[in-house]
């Protein structure tokens, strides 16, 4: 039986339905991500799990216990906020120990547990610092420590890395994942960043307009998008409508065809290989380890990624090429 189950969760604010019929189940120790654009309902679902919003209908159960109407204080669910939400009047030790103090733990236990978790999040030496004396990354680690020290049944992370710069974000996401694995903590992470979702999650729920568009293992969601929305959101997929697909590839489909940019092979313009398409490079973007080309073929512009191995790999605009796309790399989406 799943550890966290959500059945037919529905949330309406006045006339506006924010979450439609949301269903999910999570196993203990799993790291799940709600991925989607702003306003898709992912944070609202998280807030309903935390107990900060009451569902219009539906049921939330943790470990077989129905917590739908339970007060947030009694749920034993930890939360890390995007804005850190550290108590400005308390130093690092007091912030982290707050939850234990509320649970009336003995002072010695609080001291020991706080010291352990400070070590875990690598904040040794900052014990007496106040939040305004810490950097963004340090504040978020205090917030994480504060949520972890009370040993929550489920840890909720509401876009915890969004306010941080790229380097700190990368370090912190590795640290969060490492701690989550070590503690075997059931975790739900909310983000609009597909890279974050792919690197951290066991499973991803892609959300759009209050509904789950697709749910599955990270690699599956990326390589096998179920809908046009997921294909657009997860990567720089080339999405071809039925008419374009027919014109370019001679295939008859009803929805859209999604082709990943890295799955299109660029061959020499003089190549005589069967099943290839003629194309002309219109422009390119250097993205570090890859070069992204805009290649026009049959009047349709395709994005194509190639590894940036040497400077001589770069093909200038106007170069005639042949494109090879395997049928296995084409995916029909709704």
């Amino acid at each position: 039986m799943a550890y966290l189950t959500i059945n037919n969760l529905h949330k309406r604010f006045d006339d506006h339905v924010v979450v439609h019929d949301f269903n999910m189940s999570i196993e203990q120790g799993e790291f799940v991500t709600f991925l989607g654009p702003s306003g898709c309902g992912k944070t609202t679902v998280l807030r309903m799990i935390a107990g900060f919003e009451t569902p219009t209908s539906g049921r939330i159960c943790v470990g077989g216990e129905d917590i739908t109407q339970q007060a947030a204080q009694k749920r034993g669910i930890g939360m890390v906020f995007q804005s850190y939400a550290l108590f400005p009047n308390m130093n690092v030790t007091q912030n982290i120990g707050f939850g234990l103090k509320m649970r009336k733990c003995p002072a010695d236990d609080i001291k020991r547990k706080v010291a352990e978790v400070i070590k875990l999040v690598e904040l040794t030496g900052k014990e007496n610092h106040y939040p305004h004396e810490l950097s963004g990354g340090q504040r978020q680690r205090v917030a994480l420590a504060r949520a972890l020290v009370v040993e929550p049944r489920i840890l909720l992370l509401d876009e915890p890395l969004s306010a941080l710069d790229a380097r700190i974000r990368k370090n912190l996401r590795e640290q969060i994942r490492d701690i989550q694995r070590r503690l075997g903590l059931t975790t739900i992470f909310v983000t609009h960043d597909q890279e974050e979702a792919l690197t951290m999650s066991d499973r991803i729920f892609v959300m759009n307009q209050g509904r789950v568009e697709q749910e599955g293992r990270a690699e599956i969601v990326y390589t096998e998008p179920a809908t046009e929305f997921v294909a657009r959101f997860m990567g720089n997929y080339n999405l071809l409508g039925a008419a374009d697909t027919n014109r370019l590839l001679g295939l008859n489909i009803s929805g859209h065809l999604a082709i990943r940019p890295e799955s299109i092979h660029v061959l020499d313009g003089h190549s005589q290989q069967d099943g290839t398409l003629a194309g002309t490079i219109r422009q390119h973007q250097l993205l570090g380890n890859i070069i992204r080309y805009q290649i026009e073929s049959a009047g349709i512009t395709l994005q194509v990624d190639r590894l940036n191995r040497t400077a001589s790999d770069l093909m200038p605009a106007g170069t005639e090429v042949r494109l090879q796309i395997s049928r296995d790399d084409m995916r029909e989406v709704r």
Partner: protein, 263 residues
């Protein structure tokens, strides 16, 4: 052009300063003239030694402290709840808290006398302690515009919702959230409101006079009507109390840690 406008500004400041400071200097100078043979603090000695001064100042100080305590207990949870759960009611509450500035104190106190006179269903003017209670409540009403605005501004400077939710997720009860998370973070705003309240209550005349209580305001009026130099000394003392309150507001505002939404 720029130097002309700067000169104009300095002239305006000078006129304004003179308008405010000259009467004070004159009052102070007059208060030092009680002894015919030169300047002295005789008027201050007389005033400070007067049992009437000690009694009324002590009474008003006590009333101010009680007003502040009751006002804080009323305003902080109200402003917090409005911010957290009932933001739609904010305009209504702001309107209500502004009413004491619009309705003259004499109207309010006549209303009280009508409602709570000795033959009413709640005869708060029937004995001294009950009248003290009524006076304190009326001071709370008078202080509402200052106290509510200070506290509301303090609450807006922190992210009340997220701090509350963070505390809730850590298992904190509502009293713990208010006392350990919200109060400490709006402390300087509460103190600002408290000092304003203190200054208002110390000098208040109408309500204390009409309710017949021995407060500092009626004492000031009594001395002013019967003595020559002592009223000037009292006026300067009253100003000093007000200035001390304002100075303390500045001190606490400056000592408050840098404003942050949620740190």
């Amino acid at each position: 052009m720029k130097s002309t406008s700067r000169l104009g500004a300095w002239v305006a400041i000078a006129i304004g300063t003179l308008y405010f400071v000259l009467p004070l200097i004159a009052t102070f100078e007059f208060s030092l003239k009680m002894n015919r043979d030169g300047y002295s603090f005789e008027a201050y000695k007389v005033v400070l030694a007067d049992p009437g001064f000690q009694a009324t100042f002590g009474y008003s100080t006590l009333m101010a402290v009680l007003t502040i305590i009751v006002g804080i207990l009323l305003v902080v949870p109200t402003a917090y709840w409005i911010q957290l759960k009932l933001p739609r009611l904010r305009p209504l509450v702001e309107f209500i808290t502004l009413l004491p500035l619009v309705i003259p104190a004499i109207v309010i106190v006549f209303g009280y006398l009508k409602l709570y006179n000795s033959s009413s269903w709640l005869p708060l003017t029937g004995n001294e302690r009950a009248t003290d209670l009524l006076l304190m409540c009326s001071y709370v009403t008078l202080a509402l515009p200052y106290l509510y605005r200070s506290v509301d501004a303090g609450l807006r400077a922190i992210d009340v919702r997220t701090l509350t939710e963070a505390a809730e997720s850590l298992g904190a009860s509502w009293p713990s959230i208010l006392l350990q998370v919200i109060f400490p973070n709006v402390k300087s705003a509460i103190l600002s409101g408290a000092f304003l309240t203190f200054a208002v209550v110390i000098g208040e005349f109408t309500m204390a006079s009409l309710l017949g209580r021995p407060a500092f305001g009626p004492y000031l009026q009594l001395i002013g009507a019967n003595r020559a130099y002592e009223p000037s000394a009292l006026a300067i003392i009253a100003f000093m109390v007000t200035w001390a309150s304002m100075g303390l507001i500045q001190v606490f505002a400056r000592n408050a840690r840098p404003a942050r939404k949620t740190a």
